[in-house]
Amino acid sequence: MQHNESQPARRTVLRALGFGAAAVGAAPLLSACAGGLKKSGQSSDSTIRIGYVSPRTGAFAAFTEGDAYILEQVRARFGKGLTYGGKTYSVEILDRDTGSDPQRAAGIAGELITRHNVDLMLATTTPDTVHPVAEKCESEGVPCVSTIEPWQAFFFGRGGSATKTFKYTFHFNSGIEGLARIETDMWRLFDTNKKVGVLWPNDSDGAAFRDKTAGYRAQTGVGGFTIVDPGAYENGTKDFSSVIARFKEEGVEILAGVPAPPDFSTFWTQASQQNFQPKVATISKAVLFETSVAALPNGLGDGLCVATFWLPAFPFSSTITGQTAQQLADGYERSPLSRGRKWNQGLGFNHALFEVAQSVLTRADPKDREAVAECLSRTTLDTVVGHLTWQGGGAANPVKNVATTAGVGTQWVRRADGSFELKVVSNSLVPTLKLDGKAKQL
């Protein structure tokens, strides 16, 4: 029996080895087969195709609530076509939902590029959407503009450096430096012991904030404050007792961080139960929207501070519709497409993506991808989210592919009826914006 079994086994092994060797040997041979490969159809027709990839469902859907309204507006404006060099092109916008899934975002980007030959790609909201789309675009040579992701994550997170920049992918958004500036401004509004407890989770945002060289502590405004970092916690943590104990032990009076909304809800509830009461809390990500603030139990959202990068009071207007920020927000809230929802920051930023698209597609040959990408790197535009520039360096253009935007410090204040109002309490980056009053202590 033993003998019988061992014979075929050896033969099988040899056969498997043969197959393996053949497979390894075949790889370089394949390079020789490139001759007859079928190319994508050429898109030299008179229609410009713009791909718009956004997470309209899933975890990040709140940022793109305004998409239906924005797309209706933009399609109406682009319906007349865009003109470059005396030729008018009709415009087709292909909007796709990623379901907040990076895998699907990559698939969608691939499909838009290879099947629909898009001339320009737009992507929005979080590394999970922006990175897969941008990676595809960079490798396929399709110009891409993205937003709603801290620029450090977009640039350094994709392997950018002083020596390696990107040719086709461009981004506009604030970064950690802007956020730190706004948050520290708000801390200074209060008389504290300058001890800051931070909630930096073990995810891409937390890692970017914790980073020694480009993170939060490296920013100039943070000097003078003591950062108390209890360490990276996993998203979905249900017990923050040790973190709260640490903060209490260190006498923390300022709270900051980028927790996920459910985690902040857990933390903030437990902090209240365990009598941890900082004087000021500046929280990114978790309290961006009124719905998430109102969802905190017992009205605990009252007095939380957040850096805001777009709000209707901003003194900017759209280059597509001519509307001011206020008119854009009002128009959205009145439109049936808002389904009764309030404006949020995503509205301005996603609208601005199309402003950039309109600008470059009328200043460079829309059918020449290299020309469009090159034009993007020379673009300066005053959009509804403010002044964007991809040239000139400095704080507005820290690296080649990034344009930064400014923001203000805001505080959620609970009205008598239980709803929340966002008040501007600090405006050093947008001094033309009027303050809504003095910040109140928690």
Partner: protein
Amino acid sequence: MTIRSAVVTPGEDLRRPEISRGGRAAAAGPAGAILVLLLMACLPYLVEPGLTSELVTLCYLVTLASMWNLLAGYAGMVSIGQQAYIGLGAYALFLANDHGLDVYTGTIVVSAVVALVAWPLSYLAFRLRGGYFAVGTWVIAEVVRLVVVRFDSLGGAGGRGLAAVTEDPLLRRAFTYWLALGVMAAAVLGTYLVLRSRLGLDLQAIRDDETAANSVGVDVTRGKRVIYVLAAAGCAAAGAVICVDGLGVASPGQIFGVQYSALMIFMVVIGGIGTVEGPVIGALVYFLLDKYFAQSGVWYLVIVGAAAIAVSLYLPRGLWGTLDRRSGLAIFPVARRVHGHQGTARPETRT
């Protein structure tokens, strides 16, 4: 192997019925499948790259479904932690790529390496059974993820891109497609060959009753372990394909996400568990649902859920399982069938 009935009508010729795996059909099915694969291999020369890049998705879906079917349908291991090996495959590819190996050869190396990792992990997982095994595999996947995100060179918690891939987009798309196709072919034909081997017979016995199989001399644990390791290697190859297709990993939470397990279960249940063809059909159904309904917002999930409920209520054997039972059709015949003296094959046994 259960013989449900061996009907011999009285008065008829009582010669012993023949038992076979389908005779000539046994060769025709796989030969047809190989023909289809060869045709698919020519596609980059025949159609625009848009279609082939969509087929990459189909290829890795079929691979994943086949691997899960091998685990649950043949070896009775309901794992919801195969994403551990999908993620490891993708991340091991970064390591291979960083050390100068091209991503295509890298995929083969990576699946072998992950198989070696899965071997010791199987000792851990096999201490648990049934529902505990399922949860245990998930825990293993989470632990693997937590370990991987500790390495900054792998992008930490933020994911990373592949350092060196084929520059020319046209060549890269074709190579990626051939890689995905090769992995799929290896997964499906490999499953078929495993099931026709002696190990396949062991597995079918294990699936039907572990204790009984053990008592007739089947080495249950060995059989399961071999399958566990093979499935890990297959999932790792699929993970590497996903990584090559996406030019990297957008976030470790995604590549190590439990949604892959849900997806695999869905495809196998829809197509028909315990058949070689079922996962292929299931993957195709999911692929088409995804293609045509993914843009319908939340309705997409409603439609996918409704499809799963409908199939599990009305076609508990899945699409192929039902077809197979009604018509006796088999592209990859692994079941032994009893032939009456008139030569009519009846799907009397299900193996």
